[in-house]
Structures are given as structure tokens and as C-alpha cells.
């Protein structure tokens, strides 16, 4: 029982997310803040805490699993006798397991966690339907696991990015995802904020779009080349309208928030959001340039891919002009380090994509490792970096203390940046060499294979360095979750409002 006038923020109750109103009000008045201001943020964080930490834990688990699958797949490409005895480890299955684990396991779970934390903060209310969100997260994770196990067992639906068997994994994914979506929509519907910040549009959009894409992708009656159109409609748009949408939404929040400067031009945010939606949605057929589809479809996608420079430049101007002159902040804030580089990567990968969609470029790069390298600039250097930056910001605010080891943060960042740089450079080079060789009929096919080998070895090296970085981060995250409560009593919890702290008297009064 605390003594009157000696508010005890950071008590055991606070660490468990069960703040009392009295405590919050007392802290607010001590800080000179209006109670409703402080109250809202603390309530938002307290309400989303369990769902978000659960999703982050699951995400990081999939990151490790997915990265290991990726390492195995990568090694097999230059050392094909590696692990060939077992059917479940054959390249064609392990590669798919990697793709699902990192995109639907890691990326999706991490960004959903970020969204569930961010939305209550942005609309100034608690997360509604917390149990739905947590239940949904559990079911969704089961669905991903079922899908991956099925793929490894040789049961898959046959289309890239859509392999998880619809009748086995589908029910878990649909129900689980639906519950999470309901929680999110309910939260938005209960909004108390005066304005809808741009990140709300992106996240809301993502949760409206993904179900639509899933229905299109998993429709059971396709055949022939229409199945190819539907396949790449889904696969491309799941990047743009699911992973990219949430990532850009995150970048629009974390960059200004940490810097303490509003976004450079909010008008550009409007342009960026709607033009992204309009043009990205028509891009999908650029995966099929030269393929057996009506030419008008492919041309539409190439045109839309080039128009993409509008939203990409709008977002780039917005985010980069917000940071310009303050790049020194990257030395201090791990959040900014990851999110700003992620935002730069978004610009780069999108411009690279527009360029690659052009027929003249595509005839060199199609069917080569260039595309794989490009997808990793997007999926890793852009999406994953933003997810990691978000985690570096969010996790301390949920567990009530800062990251314990600055060295581990630096190791993580250095390892993964080095890893992805080696990865992308090696594999892009291999892809171009392969593409140029394939284009020249005088060069035998085996030469195209031979020329990729150094790049493939380089990619394996990059991948192993990434794996090391992920293990470092996973360990650090585990430390955060497991740090004893004692730690919150000797150091001030890391939170927006500097708390009125433990003093010796308060400690004594409590006993």
C-alpha cells in the first residue's frame, strides 16, 4: 500500500500491464500532463501488451526457423549433393518452407504485432478484443505451421506464394486472421482521436486488402494461364498491399516520432497512399513478361509498374526530407537505424522494380537470380528492417525496461547489414551474369549455371551472417522478456512519461 502523495509507477502491477487509474493520474499530475493524455498512451500500451509480445515472440521464432531453411536452400544451389537423401529436405520443399516462414511467419506476425500496438496509439483508445487478437494469433500461427509441414511432406497447392494447402491450413489462417482483423477493426471503430494519421490508412488498408487477395489467390477453380494471372496478382500484391502497406505505415510513425519532427509534407502522404493503391494493384503481370498471356495484360502491368515512381517518390520525399540533416540520429536510436534504412530500401527496391519491369531489362533479368536478389532487398532490407526498428521501439515500452545490452544491438545491426549487403550484391551479380549468358544462344546453358556459382557461394555467406545476426537479436529479445522484475525496481522503467520513481521510502512503505 503506497503512502499518499508517493505514487508508485513501475510497480509490479505496472510491469504486468495492469495500471490503476489512480497511479496513472498521479503520475500525470506530477509530470504536469493532462491525465487523459498520459492515460491514453499507457492504456493503449497496457491493452496491446500481451497480444503484441506474443506476436513478436512467434515472429522471431519463425525468423530463426525461416533463416535456417534459407541457409539450407542456398547451400543446395551451389552444393547440390547437400542433404538430398530425405524427401522433406529437397530443395523444392525447403525453399518454399523458407518463403512461408519468413513472409507469413516472421514478416506477417511482426507487422501485425506492430499494427496492434500502433493502432490503439494512433486512434487513442485501447485495443479492443484483446482475447480475439491473441486467439487469432495462435490460430494463424498454427495455420502457418500446418502449411509449412504440409509443404515439407510434399502436399501443396502448386502455386508460388500460395502453396499452403487450402483445406488443411486454410481454416486456421482464415479464422485466425479474421479474429485479428476483427480486433483491429473494432479498435478503429472505437476511435477517439480527432484525426486519422496516415499510418492508420495504411494499416486499415492492409487489413482490408489481404483478405481480398487471399480469396483471389485461393479460389479453387482456376486452370491454365488464368491461374498464372491470379497467382501473380496475389503474389505481387501481397507484397504491396500487405507487407509494404504495414511497413510504410510504420515508417510514417517511427521516423517523425523519434526525431520529434512532423512528416515533411502531409499532402504528399495523401498522394503517396492513393497512388500506391492505384498503381501497385495492376503490377502483378510483370512477373509474366513474355509469357503466354494476352499482351494487353502484361503491358498494363508494365505501365503500372512505371507509374509506381509517383507513390515511391512521394513517400521517398516525405520520409527522407523528414530525416535530412538529422542522420546523426541513426547513431543513437536503433529504431531509426533500422527504419530509416528500411525506408531508403523501399525507395531503392521500388525503383529497381519499375526498371526491371521494362521489357528490355526484363529480357535479361527474367528467370534469373536477379529477381531473387530484388525480392530480398524488398523483403529483408525494406520490410524486415522496418519490422525490426518497430520492435526496438515497442518492446521496451511493453516490458517496462530498456534493452539491456547496447553491444548486442550493435552486433545485430552490423551483422544483418553486412549479411544482406553481401547477399544482394553477390546474388544480383550472379543474376545478371546468368541472364546475359541465357540471352546469347551461342553460350551453352551450362555456362549460365557455372557463372552463377561464385555469386551463389557469396549468397550463402551472406545468409549465414544474417542467421548469426538473427540469433543475436533473438537472444536479446529473450533477455528482455525474461529480465527479472527486480531490474525494474532499481532502474526507471523506460517509458514516454518519465515516471515518478521508486524511492527508498516508497520501497519501504510497500513492504
Amino acid at each position: 500500500m503506497s503512502a499518499p502523495g508517493q505514487p508508485r509507477f513501475g510497480s509490479v502491477d505496472a510491469a504486468r500491464g495492469r495500471l490503476t487509474v489512480r497511479e496513472v493520474d498521479a503520475v500525470a499530475s506530477a509530470r504536469g500532463l493532462a491525465p487523459e493524455d498520459l492515460d491514453v498512451r499507457l492504456r493503449a500500451d497496457a491493452s496491446s501488451r500481451r497480444a503484441v509480445l506474443a506476436l513478436f515472440t512467434v515472429a522471431i521464432g519463425w525468423l530463426i526457423v525461416g533463416t535456417i531453411f534459407g541457409d539450407i536452400a542456398s547451400i543446395k544451389l551451389h552444393s547440390p549433393d547437400f542433404l538430398t537423401q530425405q524427401a522433406w529436405l529437397t530443395f523444392g520443399r525447403v525453399r518454399t518452407a523458407h518463403l512461408h516462414a519468413v513472409n507469413y511467419g516472421w514478416g506477417t506476425a511482426a507487422l501485425i504485432g506492430m499494427s496492434l500496438w500502433l493502432m490503439p496509439r494512433l486512434v487513442h483508445t485501447e485495443l479492443k478484443g484483446v482475447r480475439m487478437a491473441i486467439g487469432g494469433a495462435v490460430l494463424f500461427t498454427i495455420g502457418i505451421a500446418v502449411g509449412i509441414v504440409a509443404v515439407l511432406a510434399g502436399v501443396n497447392d502448386g502455386m508460388e506464394w500460395l502453396e499452403a494447402p487450402r483445406w488443411l491450413a486454410g481454416p486456421f489462417l482464415v479464422v485466425g486472421g479474421g479474429l485479428i482483423g476483427l480486433s483491429l477493426f473494432w479498435t478503429v471503430a472505437s476511435r477517439k482521436a480527432e484525426h486519422l494519421y496516415v499510418s492508420v490508412w495504411y494499416i486499415l488498408g492492409a487489413f482490408i486488402w489481404f483478405p481480398m487477395l487471399y480469396v483471389v489467390g485461393k479460389w479453387p477453380t482456376y486452370s491454365g494461364v488464368e491461374s498464372a494471372a491470379a497467382n501473380w496478382f496475389f503474389a505481387h500484391n501481397v507484397l504491396g498491399f500487405w507487407l509494404t502497406a504495414m511497413s510504410v505505415g510504420g515508417a510514417y510513425y517511427f521516423i517523425p516520432k523519434v526525431l520529434g519532427r512532423p512528416v515533411y509534407s502531409y499532402q504528399l502522404s495523401v498522394v503517396g497512399f492513393w497512388s500506391l493503391a492505384m498503381f501497385y494493384s495492376l503490377n502483378g503481370m510483370h512477373h509474366l513478361v513474355g509469357g503466354p498471356l494476352p499482351t494487353w495484360m502484361i503491358t498494363t502491368s508494365i505501365v503500372a509498374s512505371v507509374f509506381m515512381f509517383i507513390p515511391v517518390v512521394a513517400t521517398a520525399i516525405n520520409l527522407h526530407m523528414t530525416v535530412v540533416g538529422r542522420f546523426g540520429a541513426l547513431r543513437y536510436s536503433p529504431t531509426l537505424r533500422f527504419v530509416v534504412i528500411g525506408a531508403l530500401a523501399y525507395t531503392a527496391v521500388s525503383l529497381q522494380g519499375s526498371f526491371t519491369a521494362l521489357r528490355e531489362v526484363n529480357r535479361v533479368t527474367h528467370f534469373t537470380h536477379w529477381t531473387v536478389a530484388h525480392s530480398h532487398v524488398g523483403g529483408y532490407l525494406f520490410v524486415s528492417f522496418i519490422a525490426l526498428g518497430a520492435m526496438y521501439y515497442i518492446v521496451p515500452r511493453l516490458v517496462g525496461h530498456e534493452w539491456p545490452s547496447e553491444k548486442l544491438i550493435r552486433w545485430h545491426f552490423n551483422l544483418v547489414l553486412a549479411g544482406i549487403a553481401i547477399y544482394v550484391v553477390a546474388l544480383s551479380w550472379a543474376g545478371v551474369a546468368q541472364g546475359l549468358a541465357l540471352l546469347d544462344p551461342a553460350i551453352p546453358f551450362q555456362e549460365s549455371v557455372r557463372r552463377t556459382l561464385p555469386g551463389l557461394w557469396g549468397r550463402s555467406l551472406g545468409g549465414l551472417i544474417l542467421t548469426a545476426g538473427h540469433i543475436v537479436f533473438a537472444y536479446h529479445f529473450w533477455m528482455m522478456l525474461r529480465m527479472p522484475e527486480r531490474a525494474t525496481r532499481t532502474r526507471p522503467p523506460f517509458h514516454e512519461a518519465r515516471p515518478v520513481l521508486y524511492t527508498a521510502e516508497a520501497e519501504a512503505a510497500r513492504r
Binding site: Q267, V270, S275
Partner: protein, 87 residues
């Protein structure tokens, strides 16, 4: 027989006209009235005032004049762990 060029023309017109119309409607509806205020919605008073070690003296002064005296950063706020200093 629809030539490719017509497909491009139709798609381009649709992709520019439709959003232009919608944006115009939204503007008339007054949804873009207070965009600057919208961009500030994510900030709390502390975000304006907390000390950021990378900022120049001019920036700090501008903050002080606009928002009041600076608050010290919590330990670990910039960079993790106890130091709160350069990574």
C-alpha cells in the same frame, strides 16, 4: 481486336482521371482542411521537449523557444542500455 496502345491509353486515363475526381471531391468535402494538424497527431508533449543528443544547438534552441525547457532523456532512450549516449 484491341490493340495494345488502346489498352495503355484506357488504363492511363482511368488511373489519372478517377483519382483526380475522387481527390477533388474529397477536397470539396473539406477533408484536406487541416492537414498540418493531422501530421502532428502522433506527438505527445514530451516528444517535443525531450533532449535529443544529435540535435544541433540551433535545433535545441528552436525547441526550447517553441515548447519550453528540455526534458532529459530516459536512460536507454537513445541507443539502449545505461549510457544513453552514442551507440
Amino acid at each position: 481486336m484491341l490493340p495494345t496502345s488502346l489498352a495503355i491509353a484506357i488504363v492511363t486515363v482511368a488511373m489519372t482521371l478517377v483519382p483526380a475526381v475522387l481527390l477533388f471531391w474529397a477536397w470539396r468535402r473539406g477533408l484536406f482542411r487541416d492537414l498540418e494538424a493531422q501530421s502532428r497527431v502522433i506527438f505527445e508533449p514530451r516528444d517535443w521537449r525531450v533532449e535529443r543528443p544529435w540535435e544541433s544547438p540551433e535545433d535545441r534552441l528552436a525547441r526550447k523557444l517553441a515548447f519550453g525547457p528540455p526534458e532529459a532523456a530516459a536512460p536507454g532512450e537513445w541507443g539502449g542500455a545505461d549510457r544513453g549516449g552514442a551507440a
